[in-house]
């Protein structure tokens, strides 16, 4: 197909619409027995007209055709350690470090060191676990927010919320990121972080499912479950990293016991 050479130049020139030639139709055009009428055509999704293109698309998906863009390169870099205090993991690929950081250090509650998969869950946790104002307000109005992003419903108790999650959002009844905080202190939000001084009872509850982190942690648990606010005596470095959450110097009362807490032992499991 030979294209006029000026065409290529036309593409690089600026946008323009030529003055159209005058339109002048004769009623005899398209009169019987002729039947032409200029019209735009639309095709619905399942139309046969799309068959060839759809087949190409699926061949591409199934990797029969060449990929549009190749798989990303993962270059190796000189070894470096994780900069978060207390973590001595070593990496030589940036993406591995990125995943490590996001999984373990990014959404960590500065009070109880639990790690969460997303900022949304972390915010909800802090609100419900470490904000004493929340407890007060919860007695008067519905404060427990649904965990599903995009759902704005609120509930009176965490049990109601759980019921909502199960019935409305088809979540599993034992969703691991919705462990309620029981007054006897047996429950925690995240399955565990190796730093989290989780109550042993709750750990055992999860031990069957997870099994990990339970053994080494038992020794370090010194936090009394009945405390509703976790006394945050984390090291300086920690505070700097997570300081944008409620700073540890602010205490909302309720007898926060400030003492020397067993802090993170260098946990090899990290």
């Amino acid at each position: 197909m030979q294209l006029p050479p000026a065409l290529h130049a036309r593409l690089s020139a600026g946008p323009a619409a030529t003055e159209p030639l005058p339109v002048q139709r004769d009623p005899a055009a398209g009169a019987a027995p002729f039947r032409f009428a200029a019209r735009r055509v639309r095709f619905p999704r399942e139309h046969e007209f799309f068959e060839d293109g759809d087949v190409q698309r699926h061949l591409y998906l199934q990797d029969v055709l060449t990929q549009v863009a190749g798989p990303p390169e993962r270059p190796r870099v000189p070894e470096f350690t994780c900069q978060v205090a207390g973590c001595c993991q070593v990496f030589d690929v940036l993406e591995a470090y990125e995943h490590h950081y996001h999984a373990l250090h990014r959404n960590v509650c500065s009070f109880c060191k639990r790690a969460f998969p997303s900022g949304h869950l972390l915010d909800t946790h802090i609100l419900e676990w470490h904000d004493s104002l929340f407890q007060i307000l919860a007695e008067r109005q519905d404060m427990y927010q649904c965990l599903v992003e995009g759902c704005t419903e609120k509930f009176k108790t965490s049990k109601d919320r759980k019921d909502h999650l199960v019935r409305r959002h088809l979540y599993p009844a034992d969703f691991r990121f919705d462990k309620p905080k029981k007054s006897s202190g047996c429950g925690h939000r995240s399955p565990s972080t190796s730093r989290s001084p989780g109550p042993p009872a709750a750990l055992q509850e999860l031990a069957g499912a997870l099994g990990e982190g339970s053994l080494p942690l038992e020794g370090e648990d010194m936090e009394v479950c009945s405390e509703h606010t976790a006394p945050p005596a984390e090291p300086r470095g920690e505070r700097r990293t997570h300081g944008h959450r409620i700073p540890s110097t602010i205490c909302f009362g309720q007898g926060a016991a400030r003492g020397f807490k067993s802090t993170k032992k260098r946990n090899k499991q990290q």
């Binding site: 027995p33 055509v41 998969p117």
Partner: protein, 646 residues
């Protein structure tokens, strides 16, 4: 215009047979026998370009099926050889050149070029298009002695066409062809479903030297236990990696899901705080999701709430894996989607689309495209997608410029296509600027073709064309003076550059490009004028030989131009149009001929001198051959009257 096209049967048996004997004699004299690519009806080892068997239609011509067409198919249907060897091709060209005075009939679709107007270039374009198409090509085979000197050229039997091209030189071509045939069949049954597998540790496995073994029940249990409770971190990782490799086998997958508590453990590992274990567990789930057996894929359902939770997280590797896994699960069944939708997949995707990572975006596009392809999408899914912030972000990701990533753009272009062709609320997309974004993208793609950076570009061009074409039919666009209209003349220039690209790379997509051209020119004097002023009529005519569908579309576009009146027809005649029309009148397909007649009527009406020219070029004889055809009679007679009496 797009009504059912009938398969053509050549009316020219008699002329073909004459041509046959003429050609046969000439051949004997000239002795142009190469590899003997074409069969002689008369046998004797001669080589003749004229072969015809009124058999199957090549897959290049996607005619709309009609019961008659299916019945007409002899043999298995389409011509199968993926590539014709160069030697054969050269021989074809030589012969076509030599036998210019002979009728040439393509054995694939019995397109006939009658004497004396046989144009080798048109024949070559046609063959070239067929040969380069991945899906069908001219299958040629020698036949030493044809026992029956059947002058209808039954030398090439249907068997040649249908014997499958697997013995061809290009295995890739054969494989592609077979796969595409399977996909076509699936699409016709509305079962077209594909999953993607992300497996990026191939080098490791290659080093390992051995194929991953199939794991048995005890081994799986052992690995699971080790991953959960091993004391050494490395040990746990290794155990899980071995499990993941084993899960590449369907047998291991079946065993795994049969074990009690296995999925629960896997989910536990997924939600553990061990970064590497998380990733490996996600990879295991991904392998399971890719299975073709529903029971395996559906075993992953308990994990979906966690997958969605991680999609709202931050680790791009994990998010990418979760998205591909979700995408695979989505196509599994409506039951899966009925679980995922209330779990908040649309808001999760809407939040995730703001990620800066290209790998995440591509994965998201994939998952979204799977969601939008669902049968129930127009009612249940697309409204909530349109109600979210997804459309604006999608259009942003399709904006041309240095930041446009082809892999990402392909996925979202297809997402947009599924939304638009479902016709739920296209006006909303237009208010978000879809028309102008897609128009600019089209210009950008044509620029890429000009710079020869066109690897895999047809994958992106196809959905963009479809989106534009369908959007142009929206009422809000029709409103006169609306600034939503597309007015930039460069769109036409870009489209032709892309049509040329299609002709070379993927002729089966030509109809889609011409569909856009029809929608651009149908009600638009501006674009019709552009066609004329940019000198694009001749290139358009060069597409006529490609296939019947393409011919009809080309003629329709020309009708769009001609119906606008004398000012337009003035540029159509004198010119190459009339000779081309006389050629198309010789085609066998009724739809093609019918459209040619419509165009002739318009031409005669607005440019009476063309009628004179028509008569002088034996136009009446060309019309005569269709006098008996029921669908064409009336128009033929009307034209004959007009031509003779003005």
């Amino acid at each position: 215009m797009f009504s059912t096209l009938r398969p053509g049967l050549s009316h020219c048996c008699s002329s073909a047979s004459q041509a046959f004997s003429v050609a046969h004699d000439k051949l004997r004299r000239l002795r142009v026998a190469s590899a003997g690519p074409v069969v002689s009806g008369g046998g004797g080892g001669g080589v003749v370009p004229v072969t015809t068997k009124f058999s199957s239609v090549s897959s290049l011509r996607r005619e709309y099926p009609s019961p008659r067409r299916t019945a007409n198919r002899s043999g298995a249907g389409t011509c199968a050889s993926p590539t014709v060897s160069r030697r054969k091709r050269r021989a074809l060209i030589v012969l076509a050149y030599c036998f210019r005075s002979v009728s040439v009939i393509c054995i694939n679709c019995f397109r006939l070029w009658p004497p004396p107007r046989i144009s080798t270039s048109t024949a070559l374009i046609h063959w070239k298009a067929l040969v380069q198409s991945g899906c069908g090509s001219v299958k040629l085979q020698t036949q030493r002695k044809s026992s029956s000197s059947n002058s209808q050229g039954s030398g090439v039997s249907a068997e040649t066409c249908s014997s499958g091209g697997s013995s061809s030189s290009s295995r890739q071509g054969a494989r592609t062809w077979e796969e595409s045939e399977a996909l076509r069949k699936a699409r016709r049954e509305q079962q077209l479903v594909s999953k993607r597998l992300l497996r990026d540790d191939a080098p490791e496995e290659a080093d390992g030297g051995c194929v991953a073994p199939i794991l048995g029940e005890t081994e799986i249990q052992q690995f699971l236990r080790l991953s959960q409770r091993g004391t050494e971190e490395k040990e746990r990782e290794r155990a899980l990696v071995t499990l993941r490799r084993g899960l590449q086998h369907p047998e291991t997958q079946q065993t795994f899901i049969g074990l009690e508590g296995s999925m629960r453990t896997l989910v536990g590992l997924l939600t553990s705080n061990q970064a590497l274990l998380q990733l490996e567990a996600a990879r295991c789930l991904h392998e399971l999701s890719h299975s073709e057996q529903s029971v395996v894929a559906e075993a992953c359902l308990p994990a979906t709430s966690y997958l969605l939770t991680y999609v709202s997280g931050h680790s791009s590797d994990l998010i990418e894996l979760c998205l591909y896994t979700l995408g695979n699960l989505i196509v599994e069944s409506e039951a899966v989607r009925r679980q995922l939708l209330p779990q908040g997949i649309v808001p999760a995707l809407a939040a995730c689309i703001q990620s800066p990572h290209l790998t995440v975006l591509e994965a998201l596009g994939y998952a979204l495209s799977q969601l939008l392809q669902a049968k129930e999408a127009p009612e249940k899914i697309i409204p909530s997608v349109l109600g979210s912030t997804l459309p604006q972000h999608m259009l942003q990701l399709l904006q041309p410029g240095p930041k446009l990533n082809p892999g990402v753009a392909v996925e979202f272009a297809w997402c947009l296509h599924y939304i638009i062709c479902s016709q739920v609320n296209n006006a909303l997309l237009i208010t978000h600027g879809a028309l102008s974004t897609l128009g600019l993208l089209l210009l950008d793609l044509a620029g890429a073709v000009q710079r020869s950076e066109d690897a895999g570009l047809e994958l992106l061009v196809c959905p963009v064309l479809r989106c534009l074409s369908n959007l142009l039919t929206e009422a809000v666009v029709e409103a006169v003076g609306g600034q939503m209209q597309l007015r930039d003349e460069r769109v036409v220039a870009a489209l032709f550059i892309l049509l040329q690209f299609f002709l070379q790379k993927q002729p089966s997509l030509l109809p889609e490009g011409l569909w856009l051209l029809n929608n651009l020119t149908a009600n638009s004097p501006i674009f019709c004028t552009s066609l004329l002023s940019l000198d694009l009529i001749e290139p358009l005519l060069q597409l006529l030989p490609v296939s019947n569908v393409v011919s009809v579309l080309v003629l329709t576009v020309l009708c769009n131009v001609a119906e606008k009146g004398p000012a337009y027809c003035q540029h159509l005649w004198p010119g190459p149009l009339l000779p081309s029309l006389l050629e198309t009148l010789a085609f066998s397909d009724t739809e093609v001929v019918g459209q040619s007649l419509e165009l002739l009527q318009l031409l005669f009406l607005y440019r009476p001198e063309a009628a004179q020219d028509f008569l002088q070029q034996s136009g009446l004889q060309a019309l005569e051959r269709h006098e008996e055809e029921a669908q064409l009679q009336d128009r033929v007679h009307a034209l004959q009257q007009t031509a003779l009496h003005g």
